[in-house]
Every structure is written in structure tokens, then in C-alpha cells.
Amino acid sequence: MLATADALVTSMPEPDVRAAIERTASPAALIRVPQINFRGFHPDITHVPLAAGDGELFGIARAYHSRLVLWGWRRGVERDRILGWFEPDTLGAVGYGEAWNDAVELMRQATAESDLDLGDWLLALLGRGVFMHTDNHPRIDAIVQLARGVARVLAERVPAEASGAAGAIGPSERRSVAPIDEPWERVLTDGLGATAEIWPVYPPIAARLGVRGSWTWRLADGSLIDLAQFVDASLAGYRALDPRDVRLDHIDGDERFERELA
């Protein structure tokens, strides 16, 4: 398929993709898009690699875990004390208040290595409230906005005589007819929003970001749980686990957690 493609739009590592293009002698224009990882709304989310293999630990919210709950579990902290950490002072002390700038910087790096522009993506979304369901699941409008950037780059780079879906018309004509700016987010189903986890923006963090927050988790099966239920279910899962089976260096090594929670 690659051998006859007009363009390859991918977020895979560039060396791998270049190698594939050369191997297949593909004429495809390479359009690099960034992976969307944005923790600005959800700085408490983390992922836990398994010690053996490439897998990751699944909990009550599948691959998404709370750093606070994990840290408490590792240190044997009782459930009520963990629950007490979900308040403004503690969330600020462990650095969650700075998560937004860190998230923007990471996306800036990711887009710098891509063919898209951070401002085209991020600034268009900022007025739309919480555009991420989790740290790596964008809402449909965030995906559509990324697709708009891809479409603009395609219009510039794919040759006029290319035989793709746009047909044999010139780039400038394609730009004028391509309905890039139509509100696609209104007619497309938000698949991730409908079927996967939705992590809440904790109210103290939400207040700082000028958005509405909540303590309600939406799980993949559609059920809704509150903070206490989330903590209880998370801890119940972790108790059955041998800590040696998971890698938690990224949490164990966080000095702010040690200083504020120990």
C-alpha cells in the first residue's frame, strides 16, 4: 500500500518511517504528526509499566492510574489519608499547579519534530474547555483540529497530479474547496469519549485553569464512580499486586511527593 500512496501521515518514529519509504521505493510525501500527550488537565494520571515485557498495569481505570494513590499504596498509607491528599494545598505542593506549562512544553517539543504547528492546534482548543479525556486521549475536537493541520500540509505538499481522494486538481484549488474549517467535531462521533475512560479535572486544578472540575470518573464500561470509590477500587487492585512486578521509578523518584506526603 505504501508503494502507491501519495502521502504517509504518521506519528511513528521518523527513522522507522523513512526506512519503510526507502524500502518500498514509495513516492509518498511524509507528513509527521505529533503524538498527543497532554497532562495539563490531568497531572495526577500516570502509567505503570510491568517489570517484565512491554505491557502495563491495568487498574480500575485500565491503563490510567493516580500518582497519589500509587504513592500511598507503595508507602502503606491508609486509605483515609490518601483521600485527604485530594485538596488544593497538597495538589499544589506536589507540583500539579505547574503541570500546564510542562504539558505545553512537551507538546511544543513534539510538534517541533513534526510538520504541524503547536499554535494552530492548541490555541484553537483553549477556548473549548477540557479538550482531553485523559493524558493521551484527546476529545474529538482536539483530533479534528489536528486533522485540519494535516489537511493543510497535505494541500501544500501532495503533487497536483496525485491520484488520491482529492482528485487531480491543483493545491490552491484544493485549499479553496477542501472543507477544512467546517465544524467536523459536531458531526463526528467522539469514539474515545463514548467508549473509554474519562478522568476528571480535579476541582482545585480546574479552578486554576478557569474550567469546571469534578470528582467523577467515567470508566470504560460507562459506570461513574466518585473519588472515594476510585481510591478504594484502585487500592483493592494494588493490594493483590507484588510491587516487584511493576516499575514505579517515576513515582518513587519524585522528591516533591517524598517531601509533602511522607
Binding site: 500546564w100 483553549l126 482545585p204 478557569g210
Partner: protein, 355 residues
């Protein structure tokens, strides 16, 4: 070689891209160089439009020394105290929307001005024309209005004479006043008592020259009585509920807010003990946030929280901001009650006429 130009050394806050476009949501912060701060022992007073009440609640909720010399009687239940606007502002003056109203309030508290209007009739009871909603059921007689007004003005004088910091939120330029003696009402006669008489009452809309002069007069009076007082001026981001000018209400709102903003800025040039706090700018220009309720007039709690956070970060000595305001207040503040907005009775009055 790079060409020199006058913008090469400007600060980040002077550049839209740095100060607005790319700031994180909720972090827009247009305060640059506050002229003073508020300490834990400073007596802090408020007056102004409905938006000023958010500040009152915040100050009380955060444990400030919120100065309320006109307190509710000890036997009055909390909900009754709130209904009678005790603690809504530092004294029961109700909404002070216009600058002229503030100047006259000062003069009345000082005994320099005694308006011809003493009491308005409302539903068989009597109300004070200059604060018609502080006694929701009205007084039983005009004598009772006068008696309560004497207590109120004595407390108001204490606000002006004893407060260390006064926060005055400028709300409107449009208003109604007496043709007899120029007394300015918070709402038009007939809306919350009395009745409108074109022979006795007239509309006014303060222009920029008059607003500057009137606000300067207020500042000079305050400083003469209380030389140590600091004045923090803000402009309410709440639009007009109706305009008496024959033009679109949005156009009147822009005109009114611009006049108030210019008047406030002019005071900074004249008085080094006056500062301007940009709550208007935070609500209307915060990037990536919409702080207005569906009616496009009321300000949402998220917006109020943003304003308060900025106020706290820049003007409060040694006490970190906390969401939710967990610290109690010695004063009974109508925290759960709706914001008291005399102006909203204008809409009710219009609807009562069948429109």
C-alpha cells in the same frame, strides 16, 4: 545589524502574545505594579455595584478584617440579616452604582447634604429612596425611615473615616436624580418605590469630564477625612441591564465602562494612594475562558474566583490564596444568598408593565 526600535526592551506583559495568547487558561494576570498591599490588621471596606459584593464575600471568607460598622442586631437570624443586607457591603448603603451617588453618600454621612426626598411609599410601607432594597418589607413610617437612616449614615461615616482600605467598584454612568436638589438615586423612581414624575426627576449620563471631576471630588473628600486611607478602584464587568439612552444597550455598556475606566485611570495620576485593580479586564479579556453566565451579564463563579485569586496574589500580605475560603469571618456575610443587585429590579419593573 538589528535595527533599534522603541519596542525592543518592553516587558512580556506589554506584548499580547506573551501576556494573553499563550498564558495558561486561568492564569491571565493583568496586574503589574500594585501600589499598596492589604495587611491582616487593615480595616477593609467595600462599596459599589453588585460585583463589589463578590469582593466582600471573598474578604470575609478569607478571614480579612472586613470592616462592617453597620452590623445586624445580635438577635436577628442569619438569613434575615442577609435579607436586610447587613454585611452585603460595609454599611447598608445598598448598591452605589454611580460616582455621583458615592459623592453624595459621603456628603450625607458628613451631614453636608440633606436631600429633599425623605421616604418613598411602596405597597403601603415606606422605603429610603437612596437604599430602597435594604429593608425588603419597608418601614412602617417615614419617621422609621429617618431613624434608621440616622444610624446608617453614622455607620457610613465610620466606613469613610476609619477604613484603611476602601474598594470602590464603579458600575454605571447612567442614573436618575432629583430636579429639585440633584439627589442621585440608585434606581429610577417608581422601580423600587415612589413614582416617576418628569417634573421632579430626570435622567443623567455622566460623561468623561464629569466622571473625572466627580471621582476626584470623592477622593479629595475621603483623603481630607481619612488621610491614611487607600482606595482601590475597580470597574464592574457586569453590563447595563437596560439603558435609558435611545441606543443599543451594548453600545451604552461600552460607553459607560469606558468612561468609568478613564475616570479611574485619571485618579492614579492625581493620587498616589489610589490604585486600579483590573477586574473588568480579567472577566472580559481572559483568554480561553468565558466567564459570563448564559444571560451574558452575570459573572460565573469561575470568573469571580479568577478575579479574587489575582487580587489575593498581588494585594494581600503573607496569606496564600485558597479556593473556597475556609476561614470564617466575625461578620455575618450573606455567603449563600444571591448577589444583591438593585439594578435587576429595573428588568422586573419593565416586565411588570407587560413588556
Amino acid at each position: 545589524m538589528t535595527r533599534r526600535h522603541p519596542y525592543e526592551a518592553i516587558d512580556d506583559f506589554q506584548r499580547w502574545s506573551r501576556a494573553v495568547t499563550w498564558v495558561p487558561p486561568g492564569s491571565f494576570d493583568p496586574v503589574v505594579a500594585p501600589r499598596f498591599s492589604v495587611g491582616p490588621d487593615d480595616k477593609l471596606a467595600t462599596l459599589g455595584s453588585c460585583f463589589a459584593q463578590h469582593l466582600s464575600r471573598h474578604l470575609a471568607g478569607q478571614g480579612f478584617n472586613y470592616f462592617v460598622p453597620e452590623s445586624a442586631p445580635a438577635t436577628m437570624p442569619d438569613d434575615e440579616a442577609a435579607r436586610h443586607q447587613y454585611g452585603t457591603f460595609s454599611a447598608r448603603y445598598g448598591n452605589v452604582y454611580t460616582i455621583d451617588q458615592a459623592v453624595q453618600l459621603f456628603d450625607r454621612a458628613e451631614g453636608r447634604f440633606v436631600p429633599d426626598d425623605e421616604a418613598w411609599e411602596r405597597n403601603g410601607r415606606f422605603v429610603d429612596p437612596f437604599r430602597p432594597l435594604v429593608e425588603p418589607d419597608g418601614f412602617e413610617s417615614s419617621a422609621a425611615v429617618a431613624a434608621d437612616r440616622a444610624l446608617h449614615l453614622a455607620a457610613t461615616r465610620r466606613v469613610f473615616a476609619e477604613a484603611d482600605v476602601i474598594v470602590f467598584t464603579l458600575g454605571l454612568t447612567e442614573g436618575w436624580r432629583s430636579r429639585i436638589d440633584g439627589a442621585v438615586y440608585p434606581t429610577a423612581p417608581g422601580v423600587n418605590g415612589g413614582s416617576f414624575d418628569p417634573e421632579r426627576h430626570e435622567f443623567f449620563n455622566t460623561d468623561v469630564d464629569a466622571a473625572r471631576a466627580s471621582l476626584a471630588a470623592f477622593c479629595e473628600r475621603l483623603h481630607a477625612l481619612n488621610p491614611g486611607a487607600r482606595l482601590l478602584l475597580t470597574v464592574s464587568p457586569v453590563p447595563l441591564i437596560a439603558t435609558a439612552e435611545h441606543r443599543h444597550v451594548a453600545v451604552s455598556t461600552a460607553w459607560s465602562k469606558a468612561v468609568l475606566r478613564i475616570a479611574a485611570e485619571a485618579m492614579l495620576d492625581r493620587f498616589d494612594w489610589v490604585d486600579y485593580f483590573p477586574s473588568f479586564e480579567i472577566i472580559t479579556m481572559s483568554p480561553h475562558a468565558d466567564y459570563y453566565a448564559p444571560d451574558r451579564r452575570e459573572v460565573l463563579p469561575l470568573g469571580v474566583a479568577h478575579v479574587m485569586r489575582s487580587f489575593h496574589d498581588h494585594y494581600v500580605e503573607g496569606r496564600p490564596w485558597r479556593a473556597g475560603g475556609p476561614v470564617g469571618s466575625p461578620h455575618r456575610i450573606p455567603g449563600g444568598a444571591a448577589v444583591v443587585c438593585d439594578e435587576e429590579t429595573v428588568e422586573a419593573a419593565i416586565r411588570a408593565t407587560g413588556r
